[in-house]
């Protein structure tokens, strides 16, 4: 009996390690992208721009150079679900936390500005666990997802509990829910960071001029390309992720007579030794990322290396068709952010700040302040005739008028020039273009 129990134990360990370490290299790029997008769409639903992959190293004051045109960003954001944060230009260290969080315990400016005091609570540098208990709390809804490992494990999802859970269930596909627990947020108002950004931009004019795109050629097709500085002003962090997976169906491998289905080993209803086996599995998962895990894998004869665990995963509950896992990161990781975009103007200066989320989601900008309609005066009539009459069919003259307006210090749209309160501008246009 004891011998049989010991054999079963090693079969369990080998099965968990081996399956958890299944190769993901076969997974198609399409599926990786799809899973990443599913995750990102869930975060986006909370009106936060997702970070992918999750990172601890992102904080308010980080300035990124965004190289694509706004229209391209919208396309990338729609297709991928997130925006790659590739080009970190500078990390500003804005002050203003103590004023913004006035009365909030433990929040100050300087070296211990958020998140340092929470990340490393001991100012002497001794190794003390992170303590975010004083950080502002956040809460996220539960996200549902579907996942399949038909082409390999879904490594693209930024929590490893999902592929581990799939293996424990030994299922080809599953539906699941992700609950982001122990969520925190902190930030600074965009206005407070704006001063630091403008000051840095003034000092770095030479650097920014590299990205100053000249005005587009008249008649150039496509949207004008521009470069932007994206400045983070708020981040959202998560410490713990709960993953529940519900198997759609079992794999054909379950027919193997030698190895029992993993989920049966964990099924509380079917086994009085469930607690022991929970402990066994959690022990294996805990060691999967370190040398102990590799040793265990080697000892058990597993050919595949165990998963590299970023956080610690443990099984919380399992039934015949479902498994719940809890993944805790060593310290909270940033899962999303809010930011402000600054366009780099042709002069190397920065344009006005604009909320990045509004821009990349293509939300409508509020139209400009209404101006009164003044009707068409004599100069408007002359311009109308020059532009081809009521249909404005003289496209060459429309282009000439556009180019002329762009050179004016008080440039307005053609529609505003013609019927808006700009008689002087109309007069100049007639003098320069029609009766030179």
């Amino acid at each position: 009996m004891m011998a049989a129990h010991a054999v079963g134990r090693w079969v369990l360990i080998a099965a968990v390690i081996g399956l958890a370490g299944c190769s993901t290299t076969r997974m198609s790029g399409d599926q990786l992208a799809r899973v990443a997008k599913d995750w990102a769409l869930g975060i986006r639903a909370s009106q936060v721009i997702p970070v992918y992959p999750l990172t601890e190293d992102l904080q308010p004051g980080d300035v990124f150079l965004v190289e694509t045109a706004l229209e391209d960003q919208v396309k990338v954001y729609s297709e991928k679900g997130f925006l790659p944060l590739e080009n970190l230009v500078v990390r500003l260290h804005p002050k203003g936390y103590s004023a913004f969080y006035r009365g909030w315990p433990g929040v100050e400016d300087g070296k211990l500005a958020p998140p340092r005091r929470w990340q490393f609570p001991d100012p002497k540098g001794d190794e003390v666990p992170a303590d975010y208990s004083d950080a502002p709390l956040a809460a996220f809804p539960t996200y549902n997802f579907s996942v399949s490992r038909s082409g390999g494990l879904s490594l693209a999802i930024p929590v490893q509990s999902v592929p581990v859970g799939l293996n424990l269930l030994d299922t080809a596909s599953a539906n699941g829910t992700i609950t982001l627990k122990d969520a925190y947020t902190y930030g600074l108002p965009a206005r407070a960071i704006d001063d630091y950004v403008k000051r840095w931009a003034n000092e770095s004019r030479g650097y920014l001029e590299q990205y100053a795109v000249p005005s587009p050629e008249p008649g150039a097709k496509g949207p004008p390309r521009s470069f932007y500085l994206r400045v983070i002003n708020r981040v959202y962090l998560v410490k713990t992720v709960d993953v529940s997976l519900f198997a759609n169906r079992a794999t054909a491998a379950d027919a193997s007579a030698a190895v029992p289905r993993q989920i049966d080993l964990l099924n509380i209803g079917g086994d009085t030794e469930a607690k022991k086996r929970f402990d066994e599995v959690n022990k294996v998962l805990a060691g999967a990322s370190g040398p102990k895990g590799e040793a265990a894998a080697a000892e058990s004869g597993a050919t595949a290396a165990p998963i590299a665990a970023g956080g610690s995963v443990r099984v919380a509950m399992a039934t015949s068709r479902s498994v719940s896992l809890v993944e805790s990161f060593a310290r909270p990781l940033v899962i999303g952010y809010l930011a402000t975009d600054y366009r780099i103007l042709p002069s190397g200066e920065l344009g006005p700040a604009r909320a990045a989320l509004t821009a990349i989601e293509g939300r409508p900008q509020l139209p400009a302040k209404p101006i009164p309609y003044t009707g068409c005066d004599s100069n408007c009539d002359r311009l109308t005739a020059w532009l081809g009459g009521a249909g404005y069919k003289e496209k060459a003259n429309v282009q000439r008028l556009t180019e002329w307006l762009m050179k004016q210090p008080d440039a307005v749209a053609i529609a505003d020039l013609m019927t808006g309160p700009y008689p002087d501008l109309r007069s100049r246009a007639v003098a320069d273009l029609i009766a030179p």
Binding site: P370, Y373, C376, A390, A411, T419
Partner: protein, 61 residues
């Protein structure tokens, strides 16, 4: 020198006869994709409209 012209501003107090011309003028800017024409009031002699151009779908779709 402006890099590009600003989009047309919304117009108020537009006469009924002026609406079609105003729409044609606003559509000279290729960024304008939607135009809202809304009745404002009757000033006793004629109807007045506001004409508002949008470069993004104002419904958010």
């Amino acid at each position: 020198m402006a890099q590009e012209l600003p989009p047309p501003s919304p117009k108020t107090n537009v006469t009924r006869d002026g609406v079609s011309n105003e729409v044609a003028l606003m559509l000279l800017d290729p960024r304008v994709k939607w135009i809202a024409v809304v009745f404002e009031r009757n000033d006793g002699a004629a109807d007045r409209f506001s004409v508002t151009p949008w470069t993004k779908d104002p419904t958010g779709n």
